[in-house]
Amino acid sequence: MIEPTALYTITGGLLILIGFAAIMLKRNLIKIMLGFVLVEAGVHIMIICFGYIPGRTAPIVDSPNLLTDAAAMTAAPTQFVDPVVQAIVLTAIVIAVGVTALMLAYVVRLYGTHKSLDVGRYVSLKW
């Protein structure tokens, strides 16, 4: 029986590796961009795993005890997963969307200038 955290972390790591393989091996600009998207997805899964503890719920409070009851306040950190990593991943997802949009815009622009998606055709920066 494999531990869930190990399973999710390995999935994230595999996504990162597949993404880097696509970035390095593929010649189509859109496939290279999709490689970046895969890396981003893998990193997000990994970061979420840092704060994930099996059996705990998402940090959304479902009873008002935390306002008044001191015992509930000390018990709260044992029922919820870490909210910080979730907030960080939300930030990262939004920025990944922006970066992906920018990459796509460059791809459209490059295709317009050279009429080709093959990265090997763009030799002006080659040395």
């Binding site: 955290t5 790591g13 704060g51 998402a58 306002l67 306040m73 950190p77 909210p83 930030t91 939004v94």
Partner: protein, 239 residues
């Protein structure tokens, strides 16, 4: 060369990941997460602690994140503004059913997005998610009617105004409570788990939702209309 180097790099990367990333769940949540979980409800009165972290504790970070999104969308718009050299074939007009269905669904989807970002402090969701839903309604409308033009000026105004108000709310916190984007004593915290609660958090998240929604809608419009003749006027005006 590439076929040899790629496996080496990938194997090295796999080793690095294997050696550095912990594979077991942590025993306890981090100290700072512990503080947020213990005191988040008492300090902010929001049921969703992740939202409290994003909008209040790390509010400045979220302001930076919104700026990054704005910059990337502005960059994409700048890149695609001039003639891209693409000549798109005239798209086949969508059928009556698709057009009417899209128009019918547009309102409810925008309303759903607004619901998501207005309830960000109570349920999973918030400004970014709600903004993405609003933008998806615009995408549906533009897919159904390819020649529909969005009011770019209005989108720009919504975006700038919500960004400006976000900073203004932060400055009000600085003036009244002594720290930027503070949530202490500016608006009443309200009752736990009600729509008008959590002080400034829903206000800020609604501004974020409006900003993200209008930004993404403008981005979708720019991408769909790049390479069309209307976008080429600036190119010809250049020397």
């Amino acid at each position: 060369m590439r076929q040899i180097l790629t496996p080496i790099v990938l194997v090295l990367l796999a080793v690095v990941l294997w050696r550095t990333v912990p594979m077991t769940a942590p025993e306890e949540i981090s100290a700072i997460g512990r503080h947020f979980v213990e005191h988040g409800v008492a300090e902010n009165r929001g049921a969703n602690i992740v939202t409290s972290v994003i909008v209040n504790y790390r509010g400045l970070d979220t302001l930076g994140e919104v700026s990054v999104l704005f910059l990337s969308v502005a960059g994409a718009g700048f890149i695609l503004r001039r003639r891209t050299g693409l000549t798109l074939e005239t798209p086949t007009p969508a059928s009556e059913l698709v057009e009417t269905g899209a128009r019918l669904l547009f309102g409810p989807i925008v309303l759903f997005g607004a619901y998501i970002f207005a309830h960000g402090h109570l349920t999973p969701g918030g400004g970014f998610q709600g903004g993405a839903v609003v933008a998806s309604a615009v995408l549906l409308l533009l897919l159904a009617e390819r020649d529909r033009a969005l009011a770019h000026n209005a989108l720009g105004w919504i975006e700038s105004l919500s960004g400006f108000l976000y900073v203004l709310v932060g400055l009000i916190g600085l003036a009244l409570a002594g720290s930027f984007l503070s949530n202490k004593g500016i608006l009443p915290l309200g009752a736990w788990n009600s729509l008008f609660s959590a002080g400034l958090i829903p206000v800020i998240y609604m501004l974020v939702g409006l900003k993200v929604g209008s930004e993404l809608a403008a981005l979708i419009d720019t991408m769909m209309h790049s390479g069309e003749p209307a976008a080429t006027e600036t190119e010809e005006a250049r020397p």
